[in-house]
């Protein structure tokens, strides 16, 4: 890269001065493309006619000078310098038919396009900012009125809903005893059937509560129903002479024993 000053392109005094001014202001650049755009202005030509070769030379001179002045340049400036050195060699040497990849002209054209595009964006940005602006040149309403949001819920029901609702309640009433039969009532018939199967094993006195159906002792309603039916069934069996009953005291457990024989 150091050969850039000794390769026959002598920098003019004006160029050097411009480059120095740029270096002093290096922090003010928004990256290498911005720097290239600034350098291209020294050519004082339409960006479309800019000499990329000349631009590459100017940029490399700038980087050299920055180095000479021990100014730290950000990495992307150096990457651009390397790329421009490569581009410069491509542009200067006759094209090698063996070589693959884009030609130096293609690369130069793209760089010119990038510069032109960046400049164009700057121009329209300036035009945009020069427009009349809200709150500066034209104004919105000063008094704004909040739009109240009223949420109204409209409940509806039809006559059919009403009648069905009522029918549902009445229907439930009519059928409730039937539902309870299934649910919480242990009938005497059920108790008899259960006990007939069990008394064969009751050779000794046993509390009649042990004949209660399994699982009926949790719910007090079911417990009561089962107790009543089991008691009634015990009386029925005693009447039939199948069992004997005894109770030692009031409220004491009622006990039952199989009555042997006939």
């Amino acid at each position: 890269m150091t050969e850039s000053t000794s390769d026959g392109f002598d920098t003019t005094v004006a160029d050097r001065l411009a480059a120095e001014a740029l270096i002093v202001d290096v922090d003010g650049f928004e990256g290498p493309l911005d720097l290239l755009l600034s350098l291209s202005r020294t050519q004082k030509v339409d960006l479309r006619k800019v000499s990329v070769l000349e631009l590459a030379r100017q940029y490399l001179a700038f980087v050299d000078q920055a180095k000479a002045l021990r100014i730290e340049l950000a990495a992307d400036y150096l990457v651009m310098a390397a790329w421009l050195a490569f581009l410069k060699s491509r542009l200067l040497l006759p094209p090698d038919p063996e070589e693959e990849g884009p030609s130096g002209e293609d690369l130069a054209a793209h760089l010119a396009f990038q510069l032109e595009r960046l400049q164009a964006m700057r121009d329209v940005a300036a035009r945009l900012m020069a427009r009349d602006q809200l709150g500066r040149d034209f104004f919105a309403r000063g008094v704004t009125q909040q739009v109240e949001r009223v949420r109204k819920i409209d409940y509806t029901a039809t006559l059919l809903d009403l009648m069905q609702g009522y029918a549902r309640i009445r229907t439930r009433d009519e059928f409730r005893p039937f539902v309870m039969d299934r649910d919480a009532v242990f009938t005497m018939e059920q108790a008899l059937e259960r006990m007939r199967g069990l008394i064969g094993f009751a050779g000794t006195w046993t509390d009649i509560s042990t004949y209660m159906p399994d699982g009926w002792d949790v719910d007090p309603v079911r417990w009561r129903s089962a107790t009543a039916s089991t008691f009634a069934a015990s009386l029925e069996l005693a009447k039939e002479g199948k069992v004997e009953l005894r109770q030692s005291d009031t409220f004491a457990p009622i006990e039952l024993r199989r009555r042997d024989g006939r």
Binding site: A130, R131, D132, D137, F138, F139, A140, R141, G142, V143, Q145, Q146, V147, E148, R149, V150, R151, K152, I153, D154, Y155, T156, A157, T158, L159, L160, D161, L162, M163, Q164, G165, Y166, A167, R168, I169, R170, T171, R172, D173, F175
Partner: protein
């Protein structure tokens, strides 16, 4: 850009802009200023020699009958929405919702048994009636308080309203079909599946939630 025209006005220091321009200025100032603006303030802001009071007369006339009007607020002026268009500043969203099952049942009991006390409703429904349900029906003006029952505690009774009759297209609550008719109409055969039966003693809310779906399934075609 805007400065150019501004400067024009300011240049003609001793010549007030034409009244049409002054009217435009008053219009812009009243539009953009957050508070009402006094005539003095208008004159101060407008080019020398302007007559804001006169401009206001014209502007006020121009906005007569429009969607916004130039109105006097104390000794100042402002542009305000025309009073008849206030409704546009309210965005009303109406949601139509089906009355909850608890509410429908409560309503049905009141309609069939009126006047009826809360305790009686609970007895018939087999579940307690939440305050919200009754309040909702009262608010909808489908039920109202009837005479107090002459029993211990003198409980209030509920009856249905004229609004209720209007809504359901009934001449009177007596026109409601009786149980026999309901059965004839096949309505009594519709029984919710056991899973969706409201459980005795559970809160209304649960019952509502549990049954909402099952109900519509049963009755929708």
């Amino acid at each position: 850009m805007s400065d150019a025209t501004g400067t024009d006005f300011e240049q003609s220091l001793f010549e007030a802009p034409p009244m049409g321009e002054q009217e435009r200025m008053v219009e812009a100032i009243l539009f953009a200023t957050a508070e009402a603006v006094t005539v003095k303030e208008l004159n101060d802001r407008m080019p020398h020699g302007s007559d804001a009071a006169e401009a206001l007369v014209h502007l006020r006339k121009r906005y007569e009958g429009r969607g916004v009007n130039v109105v006097r607020v104390g000794d100042a002026w402002a542009i305000r929405t025309a009073p008849d268009l206030g409704f546009l500043m309210q965005k009303e969203t109406v949601e139509t919702r089906k009355l909850s099952r608890a509410a429908i049942e409560t309503l049905a009991i009141i309609a069939y048994h009126q006047p009826v006390t809360r305790a009686e409703i609970e007895e018939i429904r087999g579940v307690s009636v939440s305050r919200g349900t009754v309040d909702q029906l009262l608010e909808m003006e489908w039920i109202r308080f009837g005479r107090r029952r002459m029993t211990p505690g003198r409980p209030v009774t509920f009856v249905v309203t004229q609004d209720f009759l209007d809504h359901f297209g009934l001449e009177s609550a007596r026109d409601l079909p009786g149980l026999k008719e309901l059965r004839a109409a096949g309505l009594l055969e519709n029984r919710p599946p056991p899973g969706t039966m409201p459980q005795m003693g559970e809160g209304d809310v649960d019952a509502e939630e549990a049954t909402e779906e099952g109900q519509s399934e049963l009755f929708e075609d």
